[in-house]
């Protein structure tokens, strides 16, 4: 069988950077072909070349046996190549159907034939098992459905080849499972998929073949059934990677953090936290597992002073921090790696140097009186950048220009360097590449081994299980159970996350 798509010896240069160096990729009809590599390995560049956004200096693309000359996304779309961008390209105020037809609207006279549009959307949705509400506004639908809308957008334009750029980054485990089913249904009906990711587990679960990129070079293409995580990780990073977290025996001290009966509302004024209680000892990591939206975000916000609690107690070292301001809580040596680093962790248009003191900028040695002490800021950055391996090693670079992993390292460096007593890490490795994940995990464990209390909130169950000493499971704003990490399995936690109990299985909705 001939491949439906072949990219041969693609080379793409940017000033000073060889983004793609003689890369090959072939895709068969009905295949799910994973494209993996660390951030900055050249995956997006390669796909941008295919999608017509960049013109390669060298190399050829063949599609259905014909040599292609793609000039702009419009050409690619017309040829049947569709792309689902990592950051959705949807207009929130328009309906699902309007978003799908935008740019190629069915008409009746001068008017948009909206009935026809809705019928077409529903027809496509049924054919491929992509449930959407065609008349709902995009801003009112969940992220998982928004992604289905993006896929439908490509299918509506007649896509034969679909490029999915990091499609699981924004999804809950349940939604990821749904996406897999959709991908399978698409390939069963003859579509071909290029799946960009850096999560090895996903790749092994869903793809047929895997192409690995590293530093712009194609390292190789392997058949999924003949490889394993370790091999893939080595191909991606270029060295052995510790996938399993190596953890010292815990050495617990006295109780440092005491939270009892904490309650709070969410942004819509509904109860999000309902009488949550737990303790964390010195030298202990308490993991929080749960399906997203069950109060984890609100819990972290209350503990860091970003949200007001309605009742309860919150003590560190026996001193109350209940409803203190974010600054006071920081001053009590509580460090915070926020869930959304773009929203709460960084000012993207500030330099690395400035971001490294954000929130501590007003204190000695970074400030003296009302003035910043620039020498000390620079010295601070010069020390932390190598220590935390922040790349590029340039303190003047804007945070925006760094990869997700390196942005996260800025936050880790800032929060860990000042010697916290209590560390709150929320989704610390979300959207971060393998090498950086390993690094961040190691740093979190170091904090624990130094006798700090750590609260780890993560949507990645393997992460919670491997790092934590105990795991609290949240469901509908309550902690349903706290289990010992040594005895926790994904299955057990899954039952608790769905609101069940370990004795009685899943109780219906209660």
């Amino acid at each position: 069988m001939e491949p439906i798509l072949e990219m041969k010896a693609i080379t793409k240069r940017f000033p000073g950077v060889l983004a793609n160096d003689n890369v090959n990729l072939d895709l068969y009809q009905g295949e799910i072909h994973a494209l993996i590599g660390e951030n900055g390995a050249g995956k997006s560049t390669l796909m941008s070349v295919l999608f017509g956004m960049y013109t390669p200096e060298e190399g050829e693309i063949f599609y259905k046996g014909q040599k292609l000359d793609i000039d702009g996304p419009q050409d690619a779309i017309e040829l049947g190549i569709g792309m689902v961008h990592q950051h959705f390209m949807l207009v929130p105020t328009l309906t699902v159907a309007e978003n799908i037809i935008l740019g190629s609207e069915p008409k009746r006279g001068l008017k948009i034939d909206i009935e026809k549009a809705i019928a077409k959307v529903n027809e496509l949705a049924n054919k491929f098992g992509l449930q959407v509400d065609a008349t709902a506004k995009v801003k009112d639908i969940p992220v998982g459905m928004q992604q289905r809308v993006e896929i439908l957008k490509a299918l509506y334009r007649g896509a034969e080849v679909l490029i999915l750029d990091e499609p699981t980054a924004v999804l809950t485990p349940q939604e990821v499972e749904g996406l897999y089913q959709i991908m399978e249904s698409l390939t069963e009906q003859g579509k071909s998929i290029i799946f960009i990711t850096h999560k090895l587990k996903e790749v092994l679960r869903i793809s047929d073949r895997i192409t690995v990129l590293r530093k712009g070079k194609g390292i190789g293409t392997v058949t999924t059934s003949e490889t394993n995580q370790k091999e893939l990780a080595r191909m991606m990073v270029g060295r052995e990677v510790l996938l399993e977290v190596e953890k010292e025996e815990a050495d617990f001290g006295e109780v440092l953090v005491e939270v009892s009966n904490l309650s709070a509302f969410n942004d819509r004024g509904m109860e999000a936290l309902n009488s949550v209680s737990f303790q964390i000892r010195a030298g202990e990591i308490l993991g929080i597992a749960g399906v997203e939206g069950n109060g984890q975000t609100e819990l972290v916000e209350v503990l860091t002073g970003l949200r007001e609690a309605t009742a309860g107690e919150y003590n560190l070292h026996g001193d109350s921090l209940y409803n203190h301001s974010a600054r006071k809580i920081k001053e009590a040596k509580v460090a915070h790696i926020p869930e959304d680093r773009h929203k709460h962790g960084l000012v993207l248009d500030y330099t690395v140097e400035d971001n490294l003191v954000l929130g501590y900028h007003y204190r000695e040695p970074f400030a003296k009186g009302i003035n910043l002490n620039f020498n000390n800021l620079a010295e601070h950055a010069n020390r932390l950048i190598p220590e935390y391996d922040i790349r590029p090693q340039n303190k003047e670079a804007l945070a925006r220009s760094l990869s997700g992993g390196n942005q996260q390292k800025i936050i880790v460096a800032r929060e860990f360097d000042l010697g916290p007593e209590f560390l709150i890490a929320s989704q610390p490795t979300r959207g971060v590449d393998v090498g950086a994940i390993e690094f961040i995990h190691r740093r979190i464990l170091e904090q624990r081994d130094e006798g700090k209390a750590v609260l780890l909130v993560s949507a990645e169950l393997p992460e919670v299980i491997s790092l934590s000493d105990r795991i609290a499971v949240m469901y509908e704003g309550e902690i349903v159970d706290i289990v010992d990490a040594a005895e926790a399995t994904e299955e057990k936690l899954g039952i608790l996350m769905a609101g069940g109990s370990l004795e009685g299985g899943i109780a219906n909705g209660s």
Partner: protein, 295 residues
């Protein structure tokens, strides 16, 4: 009692419609521009320029309809300055709008002097004829509102305009020419502001007066916001503001100090904007220059 009968007389109502017309037309102009993501506070200046050109063309040709046409064409062209500066050169749209307003205010006075050799007021020219109880511009104005609703909410072009104003990168990703849509929309807003100006100089009056728009461009903007960026909303708000202007005229000479009476339309505007309407959300991408490839 006398005041109330004065306020709610038939004359007040027809005067309301006359006063509301330029506001509604200009507000619809602003609507096209802002829905595509370009702030247009130049409406005031575009109206003033339109009013002036209408009188000039009518003066030289003797045909008021040509004056009207001239106002449309010139309004569209004049708005292109704002379009090029904000779309092509990514300048601050508010600053560009203010510049156009000042250029129009100064330019019309200057040209008034050169062409009519007077300051303050031009000669009387042939004005638009009455069609029944109103000037043609009143009917055209109503038509403009209905057409705008149809265009913006029923046609592919309208869907594209709205997408460009909300999320230009999404529009770009499906092959919509964001800049072209914005040029067209700013052009339409200039044409409509020119029409609104011609209504003032050739519809309501038969001459040009210095600064004759008297803030109506800004009140039109307020009507657009008050109407939550929808054509019928803008019409409703314009009628309300038009009513307050009509009342103001009726109340003059009834023993109430004119200064107070003249404040009425502006007080209406402030009250309306200050929260009677609840939350009014502008298009998301408004005021942001579009740069391809930037997220």
């Amino acid at each position: 009692m006398e005041i109330l009968t004065q306020i709610f007389s038939l004359e007040t109502l027809s005067s309301t419609l006359r006063m509301a017309t330029p506001l509604a037309i200009a507000a619809i102009g602003g609507l096209y521009s802002e829905r595509s993501g370009i702030i247009n506070i130049a409406l005031e200046g575009l109206m003033l320029a339109g009013a002036f050109i209408a009188v000039v063309v009518s003066y030289f040709t003797g045909i008021p309809w040509l004056g009207l046409l001239g106002a449309l064409v010139f309004g569209g062209l004049f708005a292109m300055i704002h379009a090029v500066v904000s779309i092509k050169y990514h300048a601050d749209q508010v600053v560009s709008g203010v510049a156009i307003n000042m250029l129009a205010a100064g330019g019309t006075v200057f040209m008034l002097n050169i062409i009519f050799n007077t300051s303050g007021t031009s000669e009387s020219v042939n004005a638009l004829p009455y069609w029944g109880p109103f000037k043609p511009t009143v009917y055209i104005g109503l038509l403009v509102v209905f057409i705008a609703h149809y265009v913006l909410f029923k046609t592919p072009f309208g869907l594209r305009v709205r997408s460009v104003g909300e999320h230009p990168h999404a529009a770009d990703s499906v092959g919509i020419d964001v800049e072209k849509i914005r040029y067209i929309c700013v052009g339409i807003s200039g044409i409509l502001a020119g029409l609104a100006g011609a209504h003032l100089s050739l519809g309501v009056l038969d001459s040009f007066r210095e600064g004759m728009t008297a803030g109506r461009g800004f009140i039109a903007l307020a009507a657009m916001i008050f109407g939550k960026w929808t054509p019928f909303g803008a019409l409703g708000a314009s009628l309300l503001f038009g009513f307050s202007q009509a009342v103001q005229i009726r109340l003059q000479g009834l023993g109430i100090p004119t200064e107070f009476v003249q404040m009425i339309p502006y007080i209406f505007t402030i009250i309306a904007l200050a929260g009677v309407i609840g939350k009014s959300t502008p298009p998301t991408a408004i005021g942001e220059p579009f740069e391809k490839g930037k997220r």
